[in-house]
């Protein structure tokens, strides 16, 4: 997993509450058997018109927003289906950071596995960040746990384990395989009724 420490980039605000993973990546794109290539389908039903052409009014299609790396959103982001394709699609499009009011538990975990940093900030802070111009950059400092926008700093909280995972870009399975003996010991102590 790619490590994240200090990141500077431009933003895209999508301030609706309860943006679900069906919207982030509709089911017709879940048929692939790879982890890559979902970015072109991100927010598909909002992004494209019925004839398949890009909807110029949707913010992801605005020319001045291309290259943005930080998504600003509402409450309960990523609710609904557990599909990790949602995290893959956000990452594949280019998002490295999400700043929302809250997240669904499963989506949050999926972000921690893919190097997409989910940050929680209160509404007033997000409103300020959402109104900056498309060219303006914000800085996210994970070690120091703050977002800097327009000279203003907003602190955020994050569990120290997930924080270290992002900073080191570690592979979970390798870590857990170090616990193999403990897992075996656990298995030997389990009740069996077969």
């Amino acid at each position: 997993m790619e490590a994240i420490t200090v990141h500077t980039g431009t933003t895209i605000p999508l301030m609706n509450n309860n943006i679900d993973t069906d919207q982030i990546i509709p089911k017709q794109f879940l048929k692939n058997i790879l982890k890559i290539g979902y970015g072109k389908h991100l927010f598909h039903d909002w992004r494209f018109l019925d004839d398949g052409s890009p909807d110029p009014s949707f913010i992801l299609n605005h020319p001045e927003r291309q290259g943005a790396t930080v998504l600003i959103s509402g409450e309960n982001f990523g609710c609904g289906s557990s599909r990790e394709h949602a995290a893959w699609a956000l990452k594949d499009w280019g998002f490295k950071i999400i700043i929302a009011g809250s997240y669904s538990d499963i989506f949050f975990m999926n972000c921690t596995k893919n190097g997409v940093l989910p940050i929680i900030l209160p509404l007033d802070a997000r409103k300020k960040i959402a109104t900056i111009s498309p060219e303006e950059k914000i800085t996210v400092d994970l070690p120091q746990q703050f977002v800097e926008c327009n000279g203003e700093k907003f602190n955020f909280k994050i569990d120290s384990t997930w924080k270290q995972k992002f900073i080191n870009g570690t592979d979970d399975i390798d870590i857990t395989l170090n616990y193999s003996d403990k897992i075996s010991k656990f298995e030997n102590s389990m009740p069996s009724f077969s």
Partner: protein, 458 residues
């Protein structure tokens, strides 16, 4: 200070890690389906890893399978996913209930039906409705594909222990009101994220009286209230349900003795308690684009509270203040992991018997598994549905998420026994209205919702 059901289950499964930090939890049962697993198996292959305990994983095909002409999969990419799962299961030694087999069906229907799901377990699956299995008194939650890979490789998972919320359900349901209405009413009252960060436990005299099928319908939709898991304490009803099933424990008496330790000592042990009296509850129907946008069928649609409501009204083509019973219904769908079990089909058939669908209503009945289908046919339910003008299909997720060709056309209002009414969930621009099996069946007969508590309507 006592312990909750959740605390007791959690403690039994912790392998490593301190409280307050992510802890390594052992996984007893891992269920797998074709959509969220290919990348996980590929990850194992690339890193030369094996499946630690193949006998603890069980796979089936449900999301992508056709429910008509099942061996003729026209979509090349769906076919590829199905073939990939078969290949992966062969290679890694995992049991598979494949398309056409007696055991195949929606993953959350077959787990309990085969006796794989048992009290006292931890259950995961790459699917958010894994919460369903919590009805047996287990910790059951959905995971992403990276976690699927992690569980395959290690039979364990890192999780931060959630807080606990007890939901006290008490009172007798009125005739015509079902378990589905309870969970829809809870979400309508407390919102789509009231459970975020919590493990829910439903308890109380209402729960004690519910059948396993009905308990599963409630836990199934915990995720629609934001909770990764919903659970209920195992009791005599649970033990009787598990007994005699194919993969149930051989030493049943010993197992039951072990399972009986799993209950909450006292309601004060929860971090939070909600109290919910179900005795006055009406049947619920959803009008909008998330499950909290639901109202009693006897009520009317709400004011436009904010931009989210405006957007929902625009999508659904409805207006504030109209009566819920005036929502026109042109399609009905009965099935899914929420309401695709035998008891659900019986409920729907009871309403439909001797009636015919209203003019211009199309109806799809999709049993949750091959066994449900066979059992229903033994009871003659298929005939009741067909006589009413419904299509009787093969098992799968079908129009619950419309990944296969089973899609509701754009603009059509579909009364559906499923769990999600998101934009485009049942097909592009399709308009989903969630309700119970009996309510959906009655809506099909009338061409609009009716309050099935009133005897004269059915």
């Amino acid at each position: 200070m006592g312990k909750t059901l959740f605390d007791k289950l959690w403690e039994k499964h912790v392998i490593a890690g301190k409280p307050g930090e992510p802890q390594l939890i052992y996984i007893d049962l891992h269920l797998v389906h074709e959509v969220t697993s290919p990348q996980a198996f590929e990850g194992l292959r690339v890193n030369h890893r094996h499946v630690r305990r193949p006998e603890r994983t069980f796979a089936t095909m449900d999301h992508n399978v056709p429910t008509k002409d099942i061996f003729n999969i026209k979509d090349a990419i769906s076919l590829k996913q199905i073939e990939t799962l078969k290949k992966n299961c062969d290679e890694f030694g995992i049991r598979l209930a494949e398309i056409g087999s007696e055991e195949q069906g929606i993953v959350h229907v077959i787990g309990p039906q085969l006796g794989l799901t048992q009290p006292g377990q931890t259950v995961v699956c790459g699917d958010s409705h894994t919460a369903t299995h919590g009805a047996f008194g287990s910790i059951a939650f959905g995971i992403g594909t990276s976690e699927v890979e992690h569980v395959l490789a290690t039979q364990a998972i890192w999780q931060l222990k959630p807080k606990t919320m007890g939901i006290h359900l008490h009172g007798n349901l009125q005739k015509g009101v079902s378990a589905k209405d309870i969970i829809m009413a809870l979400i309508a009252t407390y919102g789509v994220d009231f459970g975020t960060g919590y493990a829910l436990e439903f308890y109380g005299d209402t729960v004690d009286r519910l059948s396993m099928e009905n308990r599963m319908s409630i836990c199934n939709m915990a995720i629609e209230g934001g909770a990764k898991m919903g659970m209920m304490k195992p009791d005599q009803t649970t033990f009787e349900y598990v007994t005699g099933r194919k993969y149930a424990p051989k030493k049943m008496d010993e197992a039951i003795e072990y399972w009986q330790q799993f209950y909450t000592d006292d309601p004060t042990d929860y971090d939070k308690v909600l109290d919910f009296d179900v005795s006055e509850l009406a049947p619920y129907v959803s009008w909008g684009t998330n499950p909290s946008m639901s109202v009693p069928v006897s009520g009317s649609l709400p004011d436009i509270a904010d931009m989210n409501f405006q957007r929902a009204y625009d999508y659904m083509g409805l207006k504030p203040h109209m009566a819920a019973s005036a929502i026109p219904i042109q399609w009905i769908f009965i099935g899914s992991c929420t309401n695709g079990r035998l008891a659900d089909l019986q409920e729907a058939a009871r309403v439909m018997k001797g009636h015919h669908l209203a003019k211009n209503v199309t109806a799809w009945i999709v049993p949750g598994s091959r066994t449900v289908k066979n059992d229903a046919e033994k009871l003659g339910l298929d005939k009741i549905f067909k006589d009413a003008g419904c299509e009787w299909r093969d098992p799968g997720c079908s129009a619950c998420l419309a990944m296969n060709p089973d899609k509701i056309p754009a603009g059509i209002h579909c009364a559906s026994t499923t769990n999600r009414n998101f934009e485009g969930r049942q097909g592009k621009d399709a308009r989903t209205h969630l309700a119970s099996p009996a309510m959906v069946a009655a809506a099909g007969i009338h061409g609009h919702f009716v309050d099935i508590r009133q005897k004269e309507v059915i």
